[in-house]
Every structure is written in structure tokens, then in C-alpha cells.
């Protein structure tokens, strides 16, 4: 009675079916155009690297004189704003078309040729997101124009002198906060005293299906 079918023909068919499913998986798998080149840890490290991250307005002088041919300016604002006025020689790639393949390939070409790409928008903040994104996917040749177009527009004619100016720099307190926010009656502001104790709650690592036998 204990007879097993010896020919594994059906087994073969089932395994081939399994193989086909896996092949389908490989074919349908989205091959991302972009991949992270920097880990999260590496990304936090580069944030303070001012010399590689920033392009200062006074550095534009060289570029506008066509002395420095290794810099390409990219205008991230929309076409309309670009049409109203832009830094001479800047290319218009509005931020929403950044994901397009040809734009990515263009950036890759620049990277290969050692050309520095300077992103700008109206202000630094608008270009900051795209800039940090491109740094994370491995474009280390991308810088951000400090002050943005607004600052350029205001100081178009005296860019060289802006070296002494620091009003476009971001990330510094412009006020002595504690002093300014101090109440006129001499007591500290509510914020100083009511800071709540720091309580750490560990985020649950994963949600797991229950199981067992």
C-alpha cells in the first residue's frame, strides 16, 4: 500500500510554475531610476559641510563673466517666473520636471564631466529640498545658491561687494531670542519654565502577525 508515485513530472511542472512566478517578479519589479547613494547617517554628516554645499552670491561674478565654465546654473522655478527674469545663462528645469529621465541624465552628464551644478529658486528654502534630495542620491556636484534669486535680483549690480554682506545667510539667530522674548515685566516667558520633561517612547519596531502553534 505504501507506494509513492515515482515520476516527478508534476513536481517539475509545479516547480517551473514557481520559477515563472519568480521570473515575473523580476520582470515586473520597478527598477528605480534613482537609488540612495548616501545612507541616512552619511546624509546627516554632510549637512554642516558649508564649502561643498553652498554657492555664494559673490561667486556668481566669475560665472557671469564666463570665466568659470565649470558651473551650470539651474533655475528651479516655473517657466513663467523664469520668463520674467533669471540669472543670465541659467537653465530652466522647474522642480516638478526634475524626476524626468532626461533631466536626471543631464545631471548625470554634468557629474561625469566634473561640472558643478548650482540650484536656485526664489529663496534658499525653495531649493533646499531638491538640493538635499540630489545629494542623497549621489550627486555630490550639486550646490545651492545662497539667498536665491531674490537676493541676486536685489544685488544684481554689486554682487562682488556682497562678500561682506551676511544678510542672506540662513540658520543663524537674528535676535537674542531669550532677551527679545523676555516679558516686559521682568519675568521670563512661559516657554522658559514650562518645558516639559523629555520622555522617550520607543517606537515599536515592526508590526508582526501573530502566530504560533
Amino acid at each position: 500500500m505504501h507506494v509513492h508515485e515515482l515520476n516527478p513530472k508534476k513536481t517539475l511542472w509545479v516547480l517551473i510554475l514557481f520559477l515563472i512566478v519568480i521570473i515575473i517578479g523580476f520582470i515586473t519589479m520597478k527598477k528605480p531610476l534613482l537609488n540612495y547613494q548616501l545612507s541616512l547617517q552619511q546624509t546627516t554628516k554632510i549637512l554642516n559641510d558649508t564649502s561643498n554645499n553652498y554657492f555664494y552670491p559673490y561667486q556668481l561674478v566669475n560665472v557671469l563673466d564666463h570665466e568659470n565654465k565649470n558651473v551650470v546654473l539651474i533655475d528651479l522655478r516655473n517657466k513663467y517666473a523664469y520668463g520674467l527674469g533669471h540669472i543670465p545663462g541659467a537653465k530652466s528645469i522647474s522642480s516638478f520636471s526634475l524626476t524626468q529621465k532626461e533631466n536626471i541624465n543631464l545631471l548625470k552628464k554634468y557629474k561625469k564631466n566634473g561640472i558643478t551644478v548650482v540650484l536656485y529658486a526664489d529663496n534658499q528654502l525653495d531649493a533646499d529640498g531638491p538640493w538635499l534630495f540630489f545629494r542623497q542620491i549621489g550627486f555630490c556636484n550639486i550646490k545651492i545658491l545662497l539667498g536665491g534669486y531674490d537676493y541676486y535680483k536685489a544685488h544684481k549690480n554689486n554682487l562682488a561687494q556682497t562678500k561682506e554682506d551676511n544678510s542672506y545667510l540662513k540658520g543663524f539667530p537674528r535676535f537674542d531670542y531669550a532677551k527679545v522674548a523676555r516679558s516686559k515685566t521682568g519675568t521670563f516667558s512661559a516657554s522658559q519654565k514650562t518645558r516639559k520633561p523629555v520622555i522617550f517612547h520607543r517606537r515599536k519596531k515592526v508590526t508582526v502577525a501573530a502566530g504560533g502553534c
Binding site: 546627516t44 526634475l98 517606537r203
Partner: protein, 205 residues
């Protein structure tokens, strides 16, 4: 022995061999670069200082302010009830515990919006939702809430309404006049819940 057994053995062997060359998913989960770029381009993450002030005055319990500046600056001054998560501690479990809690809206701020925005991008990459960036940061806060400027006479009426609100907020946050009331009232306990992605079925062994 049947020839098919050799084929079976070979298929299984190469399938298993293939597993050596596929990488495993990253932990913690990261969203794909394409999604990240799309989210980065959305301006919806920015909230104004007025909005934050309003929520603070209303004592919105779902609001959590996170100061991403270094601890030294945080210790000098910060917004009411803000917690400090310097940008390099975003990757630690302790730092991450503040984000992605259900029902909580987290507003990040720094001196300007730049650092907070960068923190937001990192958090987005780690797939944390419901995070916002206070536009203009503390500098803007000082300019608009602590030292509001009277709009010119030609300004529209809404500008004056905003100015009135800012004046009131100024009194509230500097403690001028209503210091005592503001102080005790703004002591809010924020209750965290553990972040849960999905329901865990009961059971087990």
C-alpha cells in the same frame, strides 16, 4: 533514477543560489527616491508662525513642537513645550520616538526653516508622516509674533486682523500682563502612543 530528478535538483539549486545575490530590504524602512522627491516638492509641509501661535494658544493637544537646533541653543531659548531633537539624533530610537505617533502633528523648527526642512526630508525618507516645518523658523517667530509690526494704513483689512492677533499672541508669549495665567495654562502633558502601523492579531503560542 528518473531524469526529471536531475532537472528538479538543478532548478532548486539555482533558485537558492539566486538568493545570495538579492539584497534584503533595509531596516528601518525607507521610501523610494522617486517618492521622496515628489514629497519634497510639495509645499504643504510648511506652516506659518501665525498658525503655530494659534495652535499654541488654543493648547491643541495634537501639536508637538520639535526643536532641531543643537542642545546648547535649545537650552537658551525655545518655544513653549518644545522638545529638542538635534538633527544628528534623528536616527536614534530616542529621537525617532517623537515622530509618527498616531494623531500627533509634529512641527519642526530651527533658526530659519532650512535645518528644520532638512530634518523633514530625512524623516520623510524614513517614512514618518504628519510632520510639518515652521516657515521662517525662530527668526520669523520673533519678527511676527514677538515683535509684530503695524501694517501700513493702506494694507487690506486682513493684514490688520493678523496684526491684532499677533499683538495678542505677543502678550501671551512674552507673559506681559498675563504672565501668570499663561504659564500655568500652557503646561500641557502630551500623551504619546506607540506608533502602530497595523493591527496585531491576538494569539500566539
Amino acid at each position: 533514477m528518473n531524469r526529471n530528478y536531475y532537472i528538479l535538483t538543478a532548478i532548486m539549486f539555482f533558485l537558492a543560489l539566486g538568493t545570495l545575490f538579492i539584497h534584503e530590504r533595509k531596516v528601518p524602512p525607507e521610501i523610494s527616491p522617486g517618492e521622496l522627491l515628489w514629497d519634497v516638492l510639495q509645499p504643504t509641509r510648511f506652516v506659518s508662525t501665525d498658525e503655530v501661535a494659534k495652535r499654541l494658544i488654543e493648547k491643541d493637544p495634537s501639536l508637538l513642537l520639535v526643536d532641531v537646533r543643537p542642545a546648547s541653543e535649545y537650552n537658551k531659548f525655545t518655544l513653549p513645550n518644545a522638545v529638542n531633537v538635534p538633527i544628528d539624533s534623528l536616527l536614534t530610537p530616542a529621537g525617532q520616538s517623537y515622530f509618527g505617533n498616531p494623531g500627533m502633528k509634529v512641527v519642526l523648527f530651527s533658526n530659519d526653516a532650512i535645518l528644520a526642512n532638512q530634518a523633514w526630508v530625512l524623516l520623510k525618507r524614513m517614512d514618518f508622516k504628519n510632520n510639518y516645518v515652521m516657515k521662517g523658523g525662530l527668526n520669523e517667530w520673533m519678527k511676527t509674533i514677538i515683535q509684530p509690526k503695524m501694517p501700513p494704513q493702506t494694507a487690506p483689512e486682513t493684514a490688520f486682523e493678523r496684526y491684532d492677533f499677533r499683538k495678542a499672541a505677543h502678550l501671551y508669549f512674552t507673559g506681559a500682563g498675563i504672565a501668570k495665567a499663561g504659564k500655568s495654562a500652557s503646561k500641557m502633558k502630551v500623551v504619546f502612543k506607540k506608533r502602530k502601523k497595523a493591527v496585531v492579531a491576538a494569539g500566539g503560542c
